[in-house]
């Protein structure tokens, strides 16, 4: 797995992949996975322990008495599926495959009756301990993530302080500069993504907003629809929204004489301009 994918969030409650527009939320029962989706599925697992836990919980297996043959069979199907599609397979998955096969074969060996009931000699003990410990931490991570967090559910308050009154000036390093730049970049990516999916909607939003305003005010001077401080993309969307409203004959633009202010009004109520 590359490092970027390692850090990027896969929202867990949402479909983890879309194939030909169809969302895939869980793995299909028969293990048929469309090739396009396989890689995404596998990247949603945090490693072999995570995959094993998924198989155990999906099949309602008892984590304290794991049927090794069945679990190993299912696990190997995944590993084979990955290999047959030449997906880069993290070494950890292969190591785990070896561990599973070893446990399975040790369980086939007859054990001396005297110690058969002793848990310590259960070949599965170490695997079960690791699975449970990982599951506990996985759960703890989810719980931690849900705690109200500064900057997300609430924000620390800070008012403006005149720099000249501060005796100590902030110190920065070249590294801080690079991190600030990385923030700008990654946000730019988010916004880009946002724009692609929301563009039409946001024109509609502005159209509604303008209409609402005209319902209250009858006449609005054109430039009042552009608050100072709006970003360029916002102003453009707003302008497109006005053009769209005119095109759909919802709004009238009028002017009493050349160079006089432009007024917008609802098409149905437009009668005379304010003096």
């Amino acid at each position: 797995m590359n490092e970027a994918a390692d850090l990027l969030e896969v929202p867990l409650a949402e479909p983890i992949a879309k194939v030909r527009g169809e969302p895939f939320v869980g793995l299909p029962q028969d293990l048929y996975i469309p090739p396009e989706a396989l890689e995404v599925f596998l990247e949603s697992f945090e490693g072999p322990l995570d995959l094993l836990l998924y198989l155990i919980r999906k099949n309602s297996l008892d984590i304290l008495d794991i049927p090794m043959a069945e679990l190993t069979r299912q696990y190997m199907e995944y590993v084979e599926a990955m290999r047959s599609r030449r997906l880069e397979l993290a070494a950890e998955y292969l190591v785990m495959a070896a561990v599973l096969i070893e446990i399975k074969s040790r369980m086939l060996l007859p054990r001396p009756a005297a110690v058969a009931s002793d848990e310590e000699t259960d070949p599965r003990a170490e695997l079960m301990r690791r699975l449970m410990e990982y599951e506990q931490m996985k759960q703890a991570a989810l719980t931690l993530d849900e705690l109200p967090r500064n900057g997300r559910e609430f924000a620390a308050v800070q008012v403006w302080v005149d720099e000249t009154l501060n005796q100590r000036l902030p110190q920065i390093t070249a590294r801080d500069l690079l991190e600030a730049w990385a923030q700008v970049l990654s946000r730019a990516k988010i916004n880009q993504h946002h724009r692609i999916t929301r563009e039409q909607l946001s024109v509609r939003e502005h159209m509604t907003r303008i209409l609402r305003r005209l319902r209250e005010q009858t006449f609005v001077v054109f430039h009042e629809l552009f608050e100072s401080g709006v970003t360029v993309p916002e102003a453009v969307v707003n302008f497109i929204a006005i053009l769209e409203l005119v095109k759909e004959s919802l709004v009238k633009v009028s002017q009493s004489e050349a160079y006089a202010p432009l007024y917008l009004s609802l098409a149905e109520s437009a009668s005379e301009l304010p003096s």
């Binding site: 997300r152 403006w160 005149d162 720099e163 100590r168 110190q171 730049w181 946000r187 100072s228 401080g229």
Partner: protein
């Protein structure tokens, strides 16, 4: 959109919280977005003026500056606050750091360029903070209508970062992919 009498206190509290949590001035257009449906600028202005009165006798005041509205400590209080020397050195806000990063890596840039890259307006105090620190300066003007100022970094910035030239700034490429965004701070 105007506001029923009963909703005024809650609206004022929301404006108060929004302004208190922003170290930089908040433009009117942004303040209006706090409300759903959006309030008219006039209505918001009246709420702000009423809030301003509420804070009149306090050590923090609500003021209107060129780029919007902000809370700030009164100078008399600031002198006393300076007595409690913080253990940690102060830090620049995200807006300041990001603006500096853009100027450093993309110079010469106009304010418009910076706004385009950040996706939000750049307030005058942000640029003034960096100018006062001696880290950026106007290096020319772009020959387009309005002749906007072009900003670049100064040798002092390099000195303060212990660098000998701009070439020694950390390279950009690998980090853009790796870094998980820290949350707004």
């Amino acid at each position: 959109m105007t506001l029923p009498e009963t909703e005024i206190p809650a609206a004022k509290q929301l404006l108060e919280a929004a302004l208190l949590s922003s170290p930089e001035a908040v433009p009117m257009a942004q303040l209006r977005k706090l409300f759903e449906p959006e309030l008219a600028a006039d209505t918001v202005r009246r709420l702000l003026e009423s809030l301003q009165e509420d804070w009149q006798a306090r050590a923090v005041e609500l003021v209107q500056v060129a780029s919007g509205w902000r809370f700030q400590t009164r100078p008399e209080a600031q002198e006393k606050i300076a007595r409690m020397i913080p253990e940690k050195p102060p830090r620049y806000s995200r807006a300041v750091m990001e603006t500096l990063a853009i100027i450093a890596y993309r110079q010469p840039v106009t304010r418009g360029d910076i706004e385009e890259i950040r996706g939000v307006a750049v307030s005058t105090p942000v640029l003034r903070t960096l100018e006062a620190r001696g880290w950026i300066e106007v290096v020319g003007h772009r020959e387009v209508p309005g002749r906007p100022a072009l900003y670049g970094t100064t040798p002092l910035l390099l000195d303060d970062l212990n660098l000998r030239s701009l070439q020694e700034l950390p390279p950009l490429a690998p980090l853009g992919e790796d870094v998980v965004l820290p949350e707004a701070s």
